[in-house]
Amino acid sequence: MKGTDLFNLQELLSRQKLLICFSGPFSHSVIEELGKAVRNHLETEQIGKSAIMDVFSVYVEQAQNVRNYTASCEAAGRPIPANSGIVVIGKDGDHYVVSSGNLVEADAVPVLSASLDRLRGLDKAGLKAAYKEQSRKPREAAASGAGLGLIDMARKASRPLDYAVRPVDSRYFFFSLEVQI
């Protein structure tokens, strides 16, 4: 990438008030190292331990969701472009915002949208009830997660989860999720 392009990219990132950004293939070690960087950064800010852990945990859930989804497509013999994931952490006024984006197969979009729309309509008590209900369900044999991640993020968020889906081609949509803490 040429110097001017890099400069423009960096300027775009800082205009969005992004503190940390990763785009590329997510591996567990990338998730872990980036998580350490997030925590180290937050520890230098004047915020409490609980707030640090909320940002960290929303980051971990999003990054692991992207990674697990990519891995499950690969395991099913339908690998998606490995470098299609992105996670960013930024600050908007007093709030931290953790966002992620990745390609999802067109078939997965209706279910994903429906579960997010449902969570968006729930208040604190409703989210807690949904969390308890999901946590008591027996785990599906093939699942890599417990189905709790989105609910947990919604509970830690200071406003309803924001998401968008846009078609990329006949096979994929780009799914993005924004969580303000």
């Binding site: 971990v60 692991q64 308890k132 890599s144 417990a146 991640g149």
Partner: protein, 124 residues
């Protein structure tokens, strides 16, 4: 029966289960690459251990952070102990949390809501 010990890493907790003393310890942070794979030996050890009639079981938990798939695994661990306790095998939990971390306290209280076995939440 053999004891079970799995050393902590930066993203997985120490597991230290002493079969003879009945003391079980889980300590650290838990967000491994695959929580279900990580906790599988914990489940199978516990299953065997709880088949034996003695001793009483005390689970000491010092987890400051768990991702959601680890939370699910821990719920399953607590359910195993809760069932054993209800069936006459005394089992209890002591959850230790850092005083300055409210989230760890909230989390402990949520785990406690779902079980009936003795469950102490202790600040440290």
């Amino acid at each position: 029966m053999d004891s079970l010990r799995i050393e902590a890493t930066s993203c997985s907790p120490l597991i230290d289960f002493d079969a003879e003393a009945g003391t079980l310890r889980i300590e650290g942070e838990s967000y491994p690459e695959n929580s279900f794979d990580f906790y599988a030996p914990v489940f199978s050890w516990l299953e065997d251990f709880l088949k034996e009639p003695a001793p009483a079981v005390v689970l000491d938990i010092g987890l400051s952070y768990l991702n959601t798939s680890s939370i699910k695994c821990l719920i399953d661990v607590l359910e195993m102990l809760d069932t054993a306790n209800a069936q006459g095998r005394p089992a209890s939990v002591r959850w230790h949390y850092d005083r300055d971390n409210d989230r760890a306290l909230d989390m402990a209280e949520e785990f406690k809501e779902d079980v009936t076995l003795p469950f102490d939440i202790l600040a440290r």
